[in-house]
C-alpha cells in the first residue's frame, strides 16, 4: 500500500500534476460527502423507526403530537444534542455511529413534521437557505432544489464528446507529454482530417471513402509512389446465427490496403467454412478484431459488416402478418 502510494506520488510529481491530483481528490471527497447526506425520511426508515415507530423504551412515537410537542419545547438544539450524544434510553446517533449530524437533524425534523409540529414544516435546509428559501414548500421531503433553470445538467448528450473534443492536437490528447518539445511539432489530426470524408466513429474519418475519392494517396510501396495495389474483387457472404443480417466481407476494400499475407493463413484459413468467427472473439481483438476495434472502423458500426438482409426474413414476417 505504502509502496503504491509512493509510486503514485512519484508519478504525479514527475508529471508536475501534484496540485491537480490533490485538487481532484478534494473534489471527489467533497462530491461524495455531499451526495451521501440522506433525507430524514430515509434515515428514519433505516435507523430511528426501530423504536420511534412503535414507541418502545419510552421513545416518542411518530405521529404522537403530544409526545413530540413536549420535547420540542426544549428546542431543536437540545433534541439534536440528545440524539447525537444519547439520552436516557436513546443511544448516541440511534446506535449507528455512521449517521452524519445533518442526517440526524433531518431525521428529527422528519419526525417532528410527521407528528404535526407545524413550526418545522417551512424550515428550509440550512445549505439551501441562501439560495432558495422562498421556494421551499416543505422540509419533510428535502429533495434537492434545482439551482438554476438553464442548468447544463439537463443539456443534451451529457456523456457524449462534443465536436471540440474530437481529434485533439497532440499536446492536448492525454497521451502525449505537453512538456516535451517535440510534441508541439507534431501534426494535429484535426488539421489533417479537415479535407477527408467524415465518419461517425473511430477517427471520425471514413478511410475507405477517402481512399476511393482520392483524398489520400497512401503508398503501396515504401519508396515508389507509382506501385499499384493488387486488388481482388470478391465478396464472401457469411451466414450469421440469430437475427442479425448476414455479413458481407468485401475483398476489394481490404486488398486496397492490405496484402493477402496479412490475413491468410494466420488469422483466416482461406477455405470456405474453415473459420469459426464469433463476436466474442472479435471484441477481444481476434479475427476481424485484429484491426476492427483498433484501427479499422470500430465494432460499434454493426451494419457496415452485417449488411445483407437474410433471404427468409421478409417472407417469415409476411407469413406471420397474414
Amino acid at each position: 500500500m505504502i509502496r503504491s502510494s509512493f509510486e503514485l506520488h512519484d508519478r504525479c510529481c514527475r508529471r508536475g500534476q501534484r496540485l491537480w491530483a490533490t485538487g481532484l481528490l478534494l473534489l471527489a471527497a467533497g462530491a461524495c460527502g455531499a451526495a451521501e447526506i440522506r433525507s430524514g425520511e430515509e434515515v428514519y426508515g433505516v435507523s430511528c423507526g426501530g423504536c420511534h415507530a412503535t414507541g418502545v423504551l419510552q421513545a416518542p412515537k411518530l405521529g404522537d403530537n403530544a409526545d413530540w410537542s413536549k420535547r420540542e419545547q426544549q428546542g431543536l438544539e437540545v433534541l439534536l444534542e440528545h440524539a447525537l450524544k444519547g439520552y436516557k434510553n436513546m443511544p448516541a446517533r440511534g446506535g449507528n455511529p455512521t449517521i452524519k449530524d445533518q442526517e440526524i437533524e433531518n431525521a428529527i425534523i422528519h419526525m417532528l413534521v410527521s407528528s404535526g409540529i407545524e413550526k418545522y414544516t417551512a424550515k428550509p435546509a440550512p445549505a439551501e437557505t441562501a439560495k432558495t428559501s422562498a421556494t421551499v414548500a416543505s422540509v419533510a421531503d428535502r429533495k434537492p432544489v434545482p439551482q438554476a433553470r438553464s442548468s447544463s445538467v439537463n443539456s443534451f448528450n451529457r456523456l457524449m464528446k462534443s465536436k471540440e473534443e474530437w481529434n485533439l492536437a497532440p499536446p492536448k490528447d492525454g497521451i502525449h507529454d505537453p512538456k516535451n518539445e517535440g510534441t508541439h511539432m507534431l501534426q494535429s489530426p484535426r488539421t489533417a482530417f479537415e479535407v477527408l470524408v467524415s465518419a461517425k466513429s473511430g477517427n471520425r474519418v471514413d478511410w475507405v471513402k477517402a481512399l476511393e475519392k482520392g483524398e489520400i494517396a497512401p503508398r503501396y510501396d515504401r519508396l515508389d509512389p507509382e506501385v499499384k495495389p493488387v486488388v481482388m474483387d470478391l465478396n464472401i457472404v457469411r451466414e450469421v446465427k440469430g437475427s442479425m443480417p448476414d455479413v458481407v466481407y468485401p475483398h476489394k476494400q481490404h486488398t486496397e490496403w492490405l496484402d493477402c499475407s496479412n490475413c491468410h493463413p494466420a488469422i483466416f484459413i482461406p477455405q470456405k467454412g474453415a473459420n469459426q468467427i464469433s463476436m466474442a472473439s472479435i471484441l477481444l481483438g481476434q479475427k476481424c478484431g485484429v484491426c476492427h476495434g483498433k484501427v479499422a472502423f470500430p465494432i460499434s458500426e454493426c451494419r457496415r459488416c452485417h449488411s445483407q438482409q437474410k433471404p427468409d426474413t421478409v417472407e417469415t414476417v409476411n407469413k406471420q402478418i397474414n
Binding site: 508529471r15 517535440g182 515504401r222 477481444l284 483498433k294 484501427v295
Partner: protein, 143 residues
C-alpha cells in the same frame, strides 16, 4: 429449448450488454486519437518517454501492407521487439525513419513523446476497454 441454445442466447445478451457498456464508457476514456499505439516496452526503463505511434498519420501516407507485410510489423501492440539498434540498422521504423523517407533517429522526442507512466496499448481499442487491467496502469497514473 435446448440447453445449448439457451447458453448461446445468454452469451449474446452478455455480449450486447458489454457493447452497450463499452459505448457508454467510450467518452470517459482518454482523448487520444483512435488507433494511437503507446509503446513502452523498454523506453521508460531506459529513461526515455514512451513512444506514441499515430496510426492515422501513417495510413494517410502508407497502406497497411507496407508496414505489416513488407516491414514485418506484427499486428499487436508491443508485439514487436523494437529497439534503437534495429531502427538504426534499417529495420522496423528505421526502414523509413532514416532521414530520407521520414525524419531520422536524431529527433528523439518526436517519437518518444508519450506521457511517462503509461503502459503499452492501443488507445480506444475495444479489447483494452473490455479486459480489466489493460488500462489499469494508465488510470492509476491519471488519478
Amino acid at each position: 429449448m435446448k440447453p445449448g441454445v439457451t447458453q448461446v442466447s445468454i452469451i449474446m445478451k452478455v455480449l450486447l450488454l458489454t457493447i452497450g457498456l463499452v459505448l457508454i464508457a467510450a467518452p470517459l476514456q482518454s482523448k487520444a486519437e483512435y488507433g494511437d499505439v503507446l509503446i513502452n516496452n523498454y523506453s521508460e526503463d531506459a529513461g526515455m518517454r514512451p513512444v506514441v505511434f499515430p496510426h492515422w498519420f501513417h495510413r494517410i501516407r502508407f497502406r497497411c501492407k507496407v508496414c505489416h507485410a513488407d516491414l514485418g510489423f506484427k499486428m499487436q501492440a508491443g508485439g514487436n521487439q523494437i529497439n534503437m539498434l534495429k531502427i538504426i540498422d534499417g529495420e522496423y521504423c528505421g526502414a523509413c525513419h532514416n532521414g530520407e523517407v521520414a525524419w531520422s533517429v536524431e529527433t528523439c522526442d518526436l517519437c518518444h513523446s508519450g506521457l511517462p507512466g503509461m503502459s503499452t496499448q492501443v488507445h480506444k481499442s475495444t479489447a483494452s476497454r473490455l479486459l480489466s487491467g489493460a488500462n489499469k496502469k494508465q488510470q492509476e497514473s491519471q488519478q
